[in-house]
Symmetry: D2
Subunit: 376 residues, 4 copies
Amino acid sequence: MSARFRLILSILLGLPLCAATRARDLGVPFDGTPGPLDAITDVAGIEVGHTTLISGEGKQAVRTGVTVVWPRGKQSTIPSFGGWFSLNGNGEMTGTTWLEEGGLLAGPVLITNTHSVGLVRDSYIKWQVAHAPKGAEPDEWSLPVVAETWDGFLNDVNGFHVQEADVVKALESARSGAVAEGNVGGGTGMVCYGFKGGIGTASRRAGDYTVGVLVQCNCGRRPQLMIAGVPVGREIPDSVPYSRDYRHSGEDYGSIIIVVATDAPLLPHQTKRLARRASMGLARTGSVSGNGSGDIFIAFSTANPQAGGSSGVVQVSMLANDEMNPIFEATVEAVEEAIVNAMVGAETMTGYNGHTVMALPHDRLRQALTKYNKAR
Amino acid sequence: MSARFRLILSILLGLPLCAATRARDLGVPFDGTPGPLDAITDVAGIEVGHTTLISGEGKQAVRTGVTVVWPRGKQSTIPSFGGWFSLNGNGEMTGTTWLEEGGLLAGPVLITNTHSVGLVRDSYIKWQVAHAPKGAEPDEWSLPVVAETWDGFLNDVNGFHVQEADVVKALESARSGAVAEGNVGGGTGMVCYGFKGGIGTASRRAGDYTVGVLVQCNCGRRPQLMIAGVPVGREIPDSVPYSRDYRHSGEDYGSIIIVVATDAPLLPHQTKRLARRASMGLARTGSVSGNGSGDIFIAFSTANPQAGGSSGVVQVSMLANDEMNPIFEATVEAVEEAIVNAMVGAETMTGYNGHTVMALPHDRLRQALTKYNKAR
Amino acid sequence: MSARFRLILSILLGLPLCAATRARDLGVPFDGTPGPLDAITDVAGIEVGHTTLISGEGKQAVRTGVTVVWPRGKQSTIPSFGGWFSLNGNGEMTGTTWLEEGGLLAGPVLITNTHSVGLVRDSYIKWQVAHAPKGAEPDEWSLPVVAETWDGFLNDVNGFHVQEADVVKALESARSGAVAEGNVGGGTGMVCYGFKGGIGTASRRAGDYTVGVLVQCNCGRRPQLMIAGVPVGREIPDSVPYSRDYRHSGEDYGSIIIVVATDAPLLPHQTKRLARRASMGLARTGSVSGNGSGDIFIAFSTANPQAGGSSGVVQVSMLANDEMNPIFEATVEAVEEAIVNAMVGAETMTGYNGHTVMALPHDRLRQALTKYNKAR
Amino acid sequence: MSARFRLILSILLGLPLCAATRARDLGVPFDGTPGPLDAITDVAGIEVGHTTLISGEGKQAVRTGVTVVWPRGKQSTIPSFGGWFSLNGNGEMTGTTWLEEGGLLAGPVLITNTHSVGLVRDSYIKWQVAHAPKGAEPDEWSLPVVAETWDGFLNDVNGFHVQEADVVKALESARSGAVAEGNVGGGTGMVCYGFKGGIGTASRRAGDYTVGVLVQCNCGRRPQLMIAGVPVGREIPDSVPYSRDYRHSGEDYGSIIIVVATDAPLLPHQTKRLARRASMGLARTGSVSGNGSGDIFIAFSTANPQAGGSSGVVQVSMLANDEMNPIFEATVEAVEEAIVNAMVGAETMTGYNGHTVMALPHDRLRQALTKYNKAR
């Protein structure tokens, strides 16, 4: 989508006029056809909410938050078929045991920092209890999906700053439309390939269907970074974040959570196929999924609203396996772009203990693309 | 089913008049309600075929064979949703990688001895190629499901006696109706809890649905054997098969293959739930799934004949997860009974190198049940 | 162990003189040889702590808590090789993604109610941060293992009554020696086979090694209950807990968390083999692992304290696979006994909304054993 | 390694003087440092054997074979710790159930065409039985690892042309040193990204360790092909193999088997981490792992020859998880290069029914690299 067309579309869709720059605005030559917003919200019904917490400096620096992806709109706990995959499980995603067993994702996917997973999990349950319809059966339990990446380089992660109200705000402020990227929500304090990272999103059309992806990107080492086949990390080797207090400085000590959504009618075992493909989009950006990285992926289908039927026999739709290749291609491409968007959309941040992480400089990205004849 | 009713039914269904004795004929108090045949063939469409190879003595003793379970009748390769589980994977079941990925079982489940898995696999493909309809697309490949247990105590397993024609015979002679048990088909030379084992089957009604099970039982140590809660193995401690040439004599060096079939409309991830429950039926007979045992289970649903659709969107039926408890109960109960049937239906056999394995003595089983107030 | 010997041992070990009754005190004929305490604490180094919260009545009834199992003693975060298995994943156990990936369990296993998992998780991290040694590297994250079962029949689970201080108390009060059973810790409000359940433990000797098990038992329907092969649930069919407000009353809506510990030197993939065997111990008590049940099992080895080495090459010990059968047998037997101990050790409780759950009556258990010639 | 150094090395190692061209000879800029042979045989002890079957034309065209990778040299069945991963399981790899359970690979990895898996499996067992040492215990069974990709576009795959003698020849002719690539062994009739594919290999140094990879590459669509970040498939869009008889012509109907070997001392769960990384090397070449593709990966460690110890406690070495990043990087890089080597090393082939598959033209690859400023 050209920047011009993007501008027009922004006006038509009521988006902010000076929309943040995105990777394809800089001429990165991605494959495939994105949806109108090039965001996970191109999958109808999906709503995204962010609570961004930025305050203080030094040892009191709070740079964290919560991001929520509602598969079927705010407050809908109508389950979706879903599945997950752990490429490198040095991280947490709660709720996956039932996801694997029952094939169902009920409620939102929440993403935060490593040490706030519990608070976010229980806060969602409290919110759910408080908002249950009158007469709802009291013997229901909840197994929310909450994932994390570690933001302790920029955030006072051991200060446990996320509060119940922050979770509620993210839940209730979720909306369709364009999705803020970079230093927002759960991604606020994240570092990606040694550049400032965070939340990124993208989408692809795949025949009649749409695949949307949202990432919370906190992984990779600088020299690994590839964008559209160009070794951008080696072209911009400077200003790698480092602190002598940190054993893992400069290593791949981060993580990436990838959420893949589609309106294609996939059964649970088919959503797992998408989750595994997220690995391949990640690989295109240069990662080898380091030992310290929690690279955990969830995929779900918004088709089949009746999937969670609790009695009798339910009729559901299934895309034939033989028709899945375009969905696979879309998934890999959208993951790749969402990761780059997370970096392009982020801004340089100074946080915990005075640590600074530089944003990916747009001009130098563009130069690197040009050097390798890849600028579009 | 009383022995009398069984007799009448045998006549009506054209079964052999002097039908082999089965566990419930001896008063073993199983739970649940079996189907008319108390066999996997109570699931409509399922056909079972056996090729039994018995010849020679001593080092030339052939005591082996092939058993075939066709989910949708002979020669139907219409896929079924299926899944599998390995409780202790010291064995082989080919074809499971696609079963896990695609959720589909196309064609039969074949069971033989450990060293004939390859021959049986390729022979099925040859048969399939030879019987393909005119004009069938030539770029199809086949990934058959072939499982095994090791019969080298009674059979010259290193003689590789199963031949292509034996596989074809099992494939083509398969039929619905009563299923021969004990020393037949792939189960011919098997040993179960130190008694002669082999093929066993059973079924259960679960609401509107039927669950059928077929086992090739070759596992367990004598002292472990429990039947309906009675320590039958300790009550009959004598004549445990032993050979000083065999390191594993008396140990749990066997395996068990369990096939669970149902007409309940289950999606692939739901069939995996059944496969896992097979462990619990096995546990009721006393096994702890020994290190040397290949305890591998497959489950499939004969509903949804359109499951394997290769284009577009397919409408399929799914039993709600909340309705699965009766299916789980049926699975556990049918597995338990099928294992006992494998022993009750087997006869004492002398085979390789003069080794003899005693059949479970019916009268002493009955005595043991009586001793513990369990005889029905 | 006879009751008399038990008494003497209690005196020698400084245990409470009037120790709670346990299943084998009632003559239940379990197989195998337990350790001195017949508890998970027979595995050297293991410490168990409980915080039990019992207060209020009616809608304010608090009947919940936290149980902690420290693999290597209080405050030790030296990792152990471990693995896990989900027989029916309708529940939560956090931390399993790294357990599967890295093969390591660092820190304790915590068990609580479904809606307090998050609080317990983050509280453990806070405790860990507060107790970190001076100069500890600040870039470490924590992925605690916290599991749950649902106690909403007796406890005001939606009141979120577990507090950070409760977690700390369980962590810090943990000790070796005898383990309280029944209505304690995370098991306070649990229901098992329609009887009052909760925490149970047992152990087995397996050659030179010990296997210890702790369960938080909240699963099963009354008619399913088997004890030592005796249909105890059918013999005592009365007083099944029921509430017309509860859709799942009388169904298998509970869960069971099983912790298997051993000092045998097992590698991570071998601990997973133990975790799978927990299914078989559960099966012996009659469960078929109902759809609503979170039957999730974790196993770890306290051998190899160097397992978590963070640099270079580490020398570790591995028990040969061929030697694992006694460990498997021990695991199955100890799980079976621990479940029965959970019921035998529990007392009748009235809780949330006036619901009452009856304890398993000892005399009637004894009668049932006698009826089936199983009383020891 | 420069071409000149390569020449000298060839002489020293007794390799053929006019060694086949390899990807880095053409200036493809791979990352990392290969071992002396840039082959899986750089891992000490590994031997590779090929049987290549090329005969006939038209419907009688035989273009197939068998490739063997011996982890510890010909005829050694000393087990190695190993693991596997299925990225897209539309294929077969036998023996993986025990690999997963026991963590052990005993004997070679064999690779052939889809319809010869059974023959190859049983032939290996026969060979093993025939070569067992005198007095070997007769109660051992074998669960060989045999994998496949489908060569029916060039080979009369339904003619089942691989024979037992072909397997024996591959087993017995295996050797260390340089490995033939392209149209050899199991790779003889394979197609990779619409170019002639087959066997490829590469290696990387990772600190004190070596990672070696061998692939049988038969996957991918032409437009997907990326080499070192350059869209080679789009630069060379012509001569995509096609046959109107074949439904899947032009689609990703192939597969890829990847074997990852290392001398780093990895435990079974750690080898699985390598197997998962193979996905990322594959992703770098442009694949999205199509629905029809059997993308199945196995990894093993040649350290710890005592891994398969059958009694007592075995001391084994383990590389700390925190040290694995270089091994991960090496794996991803070596997989990427091995795939490109498979194409660079292959030659145009005409086979079944007159189908022709063009080799990747070296000059045009070079041009494409130059166009994108990537030629080295």
